[in-house]
C-alpha cells in the first residue's frame, strides 16, 4: 500500500512536484532572508565593534567614565601583564591594544614654516605586527586609496580627505602635535606612507592611523594602552557570554574605589550600541517573522488546495472501502514527505545563497558622510544555528497544518457528499 501511494505521489506532478517546488522556493526565501537580515543587522553592530568598542573592552574605570574625551592620561598601565591575563583566561578570544588620541597635523615647508594644518583623531593599532589581524578586522586593505601600509616605525596613514585638504604628497614628512600621557606637549615627525577612505564621514574627515609602538614612544606610554579590545572567535557579538565575562572579570580585577583599576565593558554598556543591538535584534525578528508568516500562509494554502483538489479521489477510495482515518493519514504522510523534502532542499538552497553572500558580501557604494552611526559599506549574510531550522516552520509545519485542515473535510463531510464530488 505504501508503495502504491508513493507511486501515485511521484507520478502526479500536481501532487508532488508542484507543491515540492513551492515549498522549496518558500523555504529557500525564508532561510536566505533570515540569514541576510541577521547578517546586515549584525554587520552594522559588528562594524562598530571592530572600529570602536570591541565585543568587550578593558580600560581604566576613569577612562571608561570619560571615554568621549579620549583621555590618554587615564590609560591603563601594566598593559602587557593585563594582556597576558586576558590571553590566559580567555584564550578563544582575540585581544588587541588600541590607543586613541587627539592632535594636530602640521605640514611645514623646507624652512619649517607651516604650509597647512588640520585636526586629527589618532588611532594607534598593532599595524606592524602582521599577526594582530587588525588590518583585516578594520578592513584597511580595502580602505587603502594611495601608497602602502607602514613598513617601518615612523610611517603613518591618514584619511584621503585630509590628505587632499592638506595638499601634500606621499612620503612627505608631517609633524604631529599632541599631548603625551603625562600631559606634556609633543611634536614628532612622521612620514605619510598611504591614505585611507572608509566611506564614512566620521572616519574620513581626519583619521590618522599609526603603529602602537610608535604611539607608545611618542606619547610616553611605555607598557600602557588606552584600551584593550576583545573579539569573539566566530566574529559576532555574543551578549550573554560577554555579560558573564565582564561580571567575572570585574569582580576579580576591578575596584570601584580605584579609578585606575581595570574595568571590562561589553558592547551593550554603550547606550548607542545597546540601542543599535536592540534595534538590530528587533528588526531581524520582525522581518523574519513577517516573512515566515507570509510564507506560512502561502504554504498552508498549498497544502489546503492540494487536499481540496483531491476530494474526488478520496470519494473513490472511501467507496472502495478505505477508511477515513487511513485516507487522512495517507494525506498527512504525503504532506510530511513533501514538506520535509522541500524544507531540506529549500534550506540547502537558501544556505548556499546565504553562504555566497556571507563570503562575498554585497557592496553598496553609498556616501555616508553625514551618517551618525558607523555603517559598513559591504553587507553580508550571516548563517547562524537558527538558519538551519527556521525554514522548517513554513516548509514543514505550515504545509502539514494546511493539509490537516483540508483533510478534516473528509471527516466532516458525509461519505456520500465526497462521493458526489466525483460527478
Amino acid at each position: 500500500m505504501i508503495q502504491f501511494l508513493i507511486k501515485g505521489l511521484l507520478r502526479d506532478r500536481q501532487r508532488s512536484l508542484l507543491p515540492l517546488l513551492v515549498v522549496t522556493i518558500g523555504v529557500m526565501l525564508t532561510v536566505f532572508m533570515h540569514a541576510w537580515v541577521t547578517g546586515v543587522m549584525g554587520d552594522s553592530v559588528e562594524f562598530n565593534a571592530r572600529f570602536e568598542t570591541g565585543h568587550v573592552k578593558v580600560t581604566t574605570r576613569a577612562y571608561a567614565e570619560n571615554a568621549g574625551q579620549i583621555p590618554i592620561d587615564l590609560s591603563l598601565e601594566g598593559a602587557g601583564e593585563m594582556l597576558n591575563i586576558l590571553h590566559s583566561k580567555y584564550p578563544d578570544m582575540a585581544w588587541v591594544e588600541r590607543t586613541r588620541f587627539g592632535g594636530l597635523i602640521d605640514v611645514p615647508d623646507e624652512s619649517g614654516e607651516t604650509i597647512s594644518q588640520g585636526p586629527v583623531t589618532g588611532l594607534a593599532i598593532e599595524l606592524l605586527n602582521e599577526n594582530s589581524g587588525e588590518k583585516e578586522r578594520m578592513n584597511l586593505t580595502n580602505a587603502l586609496v594611495r601608497g602602502h601600509f607602514p613598513d617601518e616605525p615612523g610611517e603613518i596613514l591618514i584619511s584621503n580627505h585630509l590628505f587632499e585638504k592638506l595638499g601634500i604628497s606621499l612620503g612627505r614628512e608631517v609633524t604631529l602635535i599632541t599631548t603625551s600621557m603625562y600631559g606634556s606637549m609633543v611634536f614628532h615627525n612622521f612620514r605619510i606612507s598611504g591614505t585611507l577612505s572608509f566611506g564614512m564621514g566620521s572616519l574620513d574627515k581626519g583619521t590618522l592611523i599609526m603603529d602602537l609602538e610608535d604611539a607608545r614612544h611618542v606619547l610616553d606610554m611605555e607598557d600602557a594602552t588606552a584600551e584593550i579590545l576583545g573579539f569573539f572567535g566566530p566574529g559576532y557579538f555574543e551578549p550573554e557570554k560577554a555579560e558573564a565575562m565582564c561580571r567575572v572579570f570585574n569582580e576579580k580585577y576591578s575596584d570601584p574605589k580605584d579609578e585606575f583599576s581595570p574595568l571590562m565593558q561589553n558592547m551593550r554598556s554603550y547606550p548607542q550600541i545597546a540601542n543599535l543591538l536592540d534595534m538590530a535584534g528587533l528588526m531581524a525578528f520582525i522581518i523574519t517573522a513577517a516573512f515566515i508568516m507570509v510564507m506560512s500562509i502561502v504554504l498552508w494554502n498549498t497544502g489546503l488546495i492540494s487536499g481540496l483538489r483531491r476530494y474526488g479521489e478520496m470519494g473513490v477510495r472511501l467507496a472502495i472501502g478505505e477508511s477515513k482515518g487511513h485516507v487522512y493519514r495517507s494525506l498527512i504522510s504525503e504532506s510530511v514527505a513533501i514538506g520535509l523534502a522541500g524544507s531540506v532542499a529549500g534550506t540547502l538552497a537558501g544556505m548556499l545563497c546565504a553562504y555566497i553572500l556571507q563570503e562575498k558580501g554585497l557592496h553598496f557604494d553609498v556616501n555616508m558622510d553625514t551618517a551618525a552611526v558607523m555603517m559598513p559599506s559591504t553587507f553580508r549574510a550571516h548563517i547562524t544555528p537558527i538558519t538551519y531550522w527556521v525554514g522548517f516552520i513554513p516548509g514543514l509545519i505550515s504545509t502539514v497544518l494546511g493539509t490537516m485542515l483540508s483533510g478534516i473535510g473528509i471527516f466532516k463531510r458525509k461519505t456520500a457528499e465526497l462521493f458526489k464530488e466525483l460527478e
Binding site: F4, L318, I320, G321, K324
Partner: protein, 235 residues
C-alpha cells in the same frame, strides 16, 4: 427465484431519507420497504430525482437513513460506525460509477489491484486475481495503459474489473452506461450478466437507461421517493 436468491442480503424496512433544503427538509425516500436476494440482477428505475442514487448510497453504507432500517448481509448499516462501514464496503461491496472514476495516475492493472491492496492480499494472489478480472472483461492487453489512453467503454470495463476483482457479494452500479454508446453498453451489460450468472454476484443498478432496463431480471420502479412498482421479469 432460486433457493440462493431467497436468502435476503439487502433488506430495507420503512426507510426514510431527508435532506436539509434551506430552512426546511426535502424527503428523498418515503417509507421504502424492499428485499433483495442473493444473486439478483435488479435495478432501481425511474426518472431523475426519484431517489435511485439516494437508495443506492444507503445500501452502499455511504449515507445513513433518517428513519427505518437498512440491512446489508444481515448487518444493520445504520448502526455501523465509519470504520465498520468501510470494512463492509472493502470486503463485500463493489461500486461502479457513471463516470468510471478511475485513478488517472495509476495504470489499469494498478486501478484494479487497489481493492486487493486494501484487503492486504499477498502479491501473488493479487496478480492472479487482477489478471483474471482483466481477462473476464477482455482488457488484459490494456493492463499497463493509463486510463487517459482508454476509450469510454474500456474505462467502464476497468471500473467493472475493479468492482469485481475481490469477488464481492453485491455490486452497486449507478448509471453505468450513461456515458457509453449502444454497442459498448450492450457489451458491458452482457459481461455483468455473465458475472452475475457465473459468480452469483448480486447486482443492483440505479438507471433510467432503457438499454440497461432490458437486461434487468427485476425492476424496482421508484417515483417521488416511493416504490411505485416492483416487477420480476420472467426469462
Amino acid at each position: 427465484m432460486t433457493n440462493n436468491e431467497n436468502q435476503a442480503i439487502i433488506a430495507l424496512e420503512h426507510v426514510v431519507k431527508r435532506f436539509p433544503s434551506g430552512k426546511t427538509w426535502f424527503t428523498a425516500l418515503k417509507d421504502i420497504n424492499l428485499t433483495l436476494g442473493r444473486g439478483e440482477f435488479a435495478g432501481l428505475v425511474g426518472p431523475s430525482g426519484s431517489g435511485k442514487t439516494t437508495l443506492l448510497n444507503l445500501v452502499g453504507s455511504l449515507d445513513s437513513a433518517s428513519e427505518g432500517r437498512v440491512d446489508v448481509l444481515g448487518m444493520d448499516v445504520g448502526k455501523m460506525n465509519a470504520k465498520k462501514s468501510a470494512t463492509l464496503r472493502k470486503k463485500h461491496l463493489g461500486f461502479i460509477f457513471q463516470t468510471y472514476n478511475l485513478m488517472p495516475v495509476y495504470t489499469v492493472y494498478e486501478n484494479v489491484e487497489f481493492p486487493l491492496l486494501l484487503l492486504k492480499e499477498k502479491a501473488g494472489k493479487r496478480r492472479k486475481a487482477v489478471m483474471e478480472a482483466l481477462e473476464w472483461l477482455g482488457i488484459e492487453s490494456k493492463a499497463k495503459s493509463k486510463p487517459a489512453r482508454l476509450s469510454g467503454g474500456e474505462c467502464q470495463r476497468v471500473a467493472i474489473a475493479r468492482a469485481m476483482v475481490k469477488k464481492p457479494e453485491i455490486v452497486l452500479a449507478d448509471e453505468p452506461t450513461a456515458n457509453l454508446d449502444a454497442e459498448n453498453s450492450h457489451h458491458i451489460l452482457q459481461t455483468m450478466e455473465q458475472l452475475n450468472r457465473e459468480l452469483g454476484t448480486t447486482f443492483l443498478f440505479a438507471t433510467h437507461d432503457e438499454k440497461v432496463i432490458k437486461y434487468l431480471k427485476r425492476k424496482i420502479r421508484l417515483f417521488d421517493g416511493k416504490v411505485a412498482a416492483d416487477e420480476i421479469i420472467q426469462s
